[in-house]
Assembly symmetry: C3
Homo-oligomer: 152 residues x 3
């Protein structure tokens, strides 16, 4: 059976080196078997993937942005845990979608992250989820995603 | 003492059968004694309870929508746990309220869910809570609610 | 080494008496070693610190509002736990920032709370975090903050 890293290689995904942690908070905090992971904004070419759904960013581009944020979340998990097999379960995901007033497909945008996590982790990637449309996000990013994971 | 199901009967509430889970995520994930429940949008007649607070939906209608989402959350808990007495405590609730720029009564909308949970579970229904006004929600729903519950 | 209370005194911060809990929910719920704390809106002179970032409230004023909400969260922790040394770790913080469409510095606003918690608790104050821009908040407050803490 393919390991997570082999799957990533097949998917031609190279995990980025996480951005240096900002002083005021940290990428993850572990408590018991739970790992709380900070919100990750979607990035493209190392910079904020700026824009708003329903105002220049299509649902399909939003999905790609959500998938990209999930890859960065995975990179953070890898960096913090050393080994992705230590992730027993993705427990919870919240997808904040920067949304113009008429945009109502936040769930389809969030699928970009949810499907990616399921592809990588299999049943352990199936999570509880909320997807909501916010007014704006840091650096004008179109998507921000936070997760809670259960660790072995 | 009336059981939870007797209380629901007195309140003339029939728990709906939860909608078939969407492939990309699941209604609940349990980790230790905690059950994380996905965001449930408010529905009416089986479809999204569409609209925005401060723009066509009144605070009182919003309360009803929040109560309706809480009934659906209860139905999900019943379906996942088999028995609602397995819920020891509703720990946390977040109420996302689709809000026009001038609407500032998100807390009153959220009360529709909070009061319902307290009515059903008694002291075990008293939870920590956040209520916020978002720009939009999936399928244009006026309210989305997620909870964390502690299970026996 | 200065205790938390001595640090607060040096910072000339007097913890307010938390507002009487609203009936429909409670300030905190403990489950295992985790304490979930309800969203606290920023207040000034005992009333909602009303306004919106990018529309009358500057980033610097937003930082002050976030710091003020964090002081109120600390007062709630003190009131619920009796002793702030019982806080082992601030695990997670979500900062909801009421944001005009063009405002993209939610992370800088959130720093007002994050830096304060680090100042008070030291390494135990370093948390995972999400900062997002919402459409509106209860009573028109410019900032609302919720936290999860680990308790000894």
């Amino acid at each position: 059976m393919a390991t997570i890293y082999e799957k990533l290689q097949e998917m031609r995904i190279e995990l980025p080196v996480p951005a240096a942690p900002v002083a005021a908070f940290v990428p993850t905090v572990r408590t018991g078997n739970l790992l709380f992971v900070s919100g990750h904004i979607a990035k493209r070419n190392g910079k904020s993937w700026a824009g708003q759904l329903g105002a220049g960013i299509s649902t399909d581009e939003g999905r790609q942005a959500a998938r990209s944020a999930a890859i960065d979340l995975l990179a953070t998990l890898h960096h913090e845990l050393g080994e992705l097999t230590r992730v027993r379960r993705i427990v919870k995901l919240v997808c904040f979608v920067s949304s113009a007033p008429q945009f109502t497909e936040q769930h389809l945008v969030a699928n970009g992250a949810s499907e990616f996590l399921q592809e990588v982790f299999g049943p352990g990637g199936l999570h509880a989820r909320s997807a909501v449309g916010v007014a704006q996000l840091p650096l004008g990013s179109c998507v921000e995603i936070e997760i809670v994971a259960e660790i072995r």
